[in-house]
Point group: D2
Chain length 337, copies 4
């Protein structure tokens, strides 16, 4: 922490702050500039020094340390590789494409999607059994029955399953039936849920909150890691901005930024980000070119009949057409798919 | 819903959409303009018509109905008055001021704050026992012990208590020990928690999410109402914008907007909104002038020692100085305090 | 400036930065913390030290000084009072209400509005002769003819005139015919225009840009002051956020924030901020309660026929109804109107 | 336009609106739904129908037509190709890379950059002679002298020149000395400047405003086209959001969105978008993968000494290293570079 004093701070003001910081157990370095004095705060847990902000003649208190430790690159310089069931590695040379419907609606729908996903050589099937919906009157998911349908597709087509948990009860089921636990954007700061995910023995995909800063997103990952689960995959899915043409604004620069700050793999969800199927393909290619470790794509056998997010879902023909172009771009940046 | 066709839509394109809508059980009205054709969709649950967005030659699908019913003014034209324990009414002529520390830290701290709150003639004491914190390493609250301290203050000073619930377990405790259940901004779209709050026999204060639209906020209230609890107080606490001088941007115009759309009372939290104690007083006065039904203000005996949000807390002297000016403004707009 | 080194910076890295800063003419203070070293940069024009951000092992460069001098409170602790034509003072005890139509459309329309403005005891008539419009096909204003209509209203009703200048040519005319030059939100960073306004002998009202930070807004004022014109009135008119119910989001907390940072008066435009006439009155009252020095309100004899911004304009009956309530709130916070 | 009536609108309310619209010269289509009545407005210049928003029992007025005509794809279905001096075509199969320093600082600096740009096979040199700067105390550019240095580099290395105009006077000089006129983000809604650019016989690169919607950006282009200059290249350079790790948030999805709405070419400026040189390369590759028609990249012989935007500038070695990877990605998506 650095405490910046006001321009008109007196020596008494400066001493009062320095004394308080010392009493709190910190060491202080005082630098007197032409216009202002700044006080460097040295010690453990310097975030407590923010209390100085309420003292007279203090202009601002500026943090200088990264607040995350376990997920930060400072303490773990090499990229993490998150392995799922021996087969699939996030954060390695291969770009992992996860595809499937937004919501599990029926056995037939899931099998049809799974058949295509498997045929295209992709390894992970997505599909929501527990659906957080903005309206209480919208379809809320098939729950446990949906998980069983996904598990059946896994057996039949040799796929891994990713699906969302929304509370303690659903988390227990998801951890039992699926291979990767997804935490959705709206629950990114549901800290009680994050603590429980930290105790689960499954890799977790953590979506960035709708308006979470990158620091807050990494702090949410830190919650999971601090509670015992280091197998975290980050997922950028678009942030909320003033632009309304797209459902959200895909913050693709989060890929290099996160890779500088953290050792965790990052994947991109171009479907929720754009909200429109015709923009999914170019943004998926861009994500691979930007260095993303994977993609999470909505695909549905009949998007116009989807109970959730139809407009942003690729039909299976369009999904099939997309994959070769992703492979070409992956190879152009030195990766496989 | 209104389906707007592309400029180059053919009669076949238009018929295809109209036929699909009819098959889905809607009636359609087709209007052919100079440049475009629009199709009005009439019937129940027209949100399903969004599926048309994936069809050829459809330019956009525009919703024209409010998605909330129970909390909307369309179906409940008069203001709701939310009564807490006979004594206090939100949404009536009196502006209700709730004050107290961000977090319950100790018995002594709470009693000191409660004594001031009672002496100033305010009726509700705030204080968090379960704290959702951005960092897993920050103080997470005293939990049940904190609730008991609050309850003791209630008995001793004749105050009502508002405190936050963060999951199913804490909700059970809060509903037992407190008078108003607070749902925080980060949980505004924790739909599983909202469903449970709907089953609780206590008034609930629902904070607006950090980047929730007013429609999403009202839909979150609709979840609570649809699950059985109509006693909802809305609380605006600042939204996330690009401006960084303030912690958040207080969207005070949400007061008249919400009052037009909904019959529920609205209160303002100027402490979280500004993040700085010196800006709390002018924004509290502005909130009352804008028509807010109440205020939620952070006040701490010694803000510089607060374990949470010290910089935005008033000390008790400043709280005492604020109240008379709030009363004067309340009277200027025809209310009491 | 403070240069924060990376956690893994070596002594060589630190020396390289310190040497470069010294060579650039700065003095440096080095503080070695538990995890990081920070380098305080002391001297004139420290913003040049940002070059260090490109050097190896530099994590971030943090500015600690306010970039504005002439408009900042640091160097001018007392409130500025901006006097217009002897009669009207912005920044004193009286709250100044400016009202009138968005655009000058006809002589009759302006006279009708001016008659009401004068009758209500307000001193300043607003009206645009040069209109910056989003579409090239929208009404662009009457230009010089419009200015002459405004000047006629001034003579007839004893009012002061405020109107917008959009480029060098219109600025010459506005400075000749009007009493206050308005610079609109879209031109807040039209630096060439700001420089010219600095050379004009008229008070200027500077609207905050649509997404300008408070610092950028004050720097725009600094341009005007640095080029010779200290008579600046700041005007907050809503910022762009993700919320779409209101045209913009009125950032009313900008009032106390600006008053802390600057000595200049601040007024509020609730019409552009909300975009809807029915929300103008509560936000105007809130602005006065928050400490604003004035209001800029759109009022039109027949809003439904307005060529620009009709939905947000009060009709003259509603304007007349608003004024007494503003006066009561002004008195409640110790001012007049 | 569609006028949506309130739920409680009476037949008299509906007739009043319909009569007013008819009197204004529109035809109306009335659709009565289960809950609401909607009125379709048909005719020319339907934007005037917004006046209905002020009438009793009107809930909202929804526009259904694109407001741009000349730059919209509705009326010009094929991609535009913008040719500069016979040699370079924007909007064709080749991705055009423009590189060079943010500001022209010296003859030596420009020649050094130009030599590299030419050696790498790029065709366009960028460099600012007129600099819009946030602070009046920052370097404001060399002006005409800077243009002459750029022109000398053009002759010596066979490059085209792009540089910014900031007002009428600089526009005259830029149009004389450069090949492409750049309009910066802060001037995107400087409508008087746009009108003048419309009269210039040079291609223009129009940067998106800091918080401009895509519709506003296309309307700014419409200004230029409506005043006579159809040779417009759009440039996305990052938008303002709440995220502060990056200087702005690169809205890369604007590429497919704009290409759907407009026939104009779109290029990306990854330097201003990210604000940090180390993130420029991945975002440049992503832009090409997303379908951008070109790139505008800041490169400086010695970024640490740059008078403007040093932290986001590539040095010339890094620029040279980037180009081959861009070429590979371009080929992966079927283009050249």
């Amino acid at each position: 922490m650095i405490v910046v004093m006001s321009k008109d701070a007196t020596p008494e003001d400066i001493n009062r702050v320095a004394d308080w910081l010392t009493a709190e157990g910190f060491r202080v370095h005082i630098s007197s500039g032409v216009e202002r004095t700044i006080i460097g705060v040295i010690g453990e847990n310097t975030e407590r020094a923010v209390g100085a902000a309420t003292m007279p003649a203090v202009d601002q208190v500026v943090p200088v340390q990264r607040p995350y430790k376990l997920v930060g690159r400072d303490f773990h310089p090499d990229d993490s590789q998150i392995r799922v069931r021996d087969d699939v590695v996030f954060g390695g040379p291969r770009v992992i494409v996860m595809a499937g419907p937004c919501a599990v609606e029926s056995r037939e729908q899931v099998m049809e999607a799974a058949e295509t996903v498997a045929r295209l050589g992709l390894s992970v099937l997505r599909g929501g059994a527990y659906k957080p919906r903005t309206s209480p009157y919208s379809f809320q998911g098939l729950g446990l029955e949906g998980l069983k349908i996904l598990a059946e597709a896994r057996e039949r087509y040799g796929l891994l399953i990713i699906t969302e948990a929304v509370d303690e009860a659903s988390l227990r089921h998801v951890a039992e039936w699926a291979d990767i636990v997804q935490i959705g954007a709206r629950n990114m700061q549901n800290f009680e849920l994050l603590k429980r995910v930290g105790q689960v023995n499954r890799p977790v995909l953590l979506k960035r909150g709708l308006s979470a800063t990158i620091d807050e997103w990494l702090m949410a990952a830190e919650y999971i890691a601090a509670h015992g689960n280091p197998n975290i995959i980050l997922c950028e899915r678009g942030i909320r901005t003033y632009e309304t043409k797209t459902r959200n604004t895909l913050d693709l620069s989060a890929v290099p930024v996160v890779k500088q700050l953290s050792h965790l793999p990052v994947v991109i969800d171009p479907s929720h980000a754009t909200g429109q199927w015709s923009w999914v393909a170019p943004m998926a290619r861009a994500a691979v070119a930007a260095g993303a470790d994977g993609l999470l794509i909505e695909a549905h056998p009949r998007p116009e009949e989807a109970l959730s997010d139809g407009p942003q879902s690729l039909n299976l023909t369009r999904l099939a057409a997309l994959i070769p172009s992703l492979r070409t771009v992956a190879e152009a940046v030195g990766r496989t798919l």
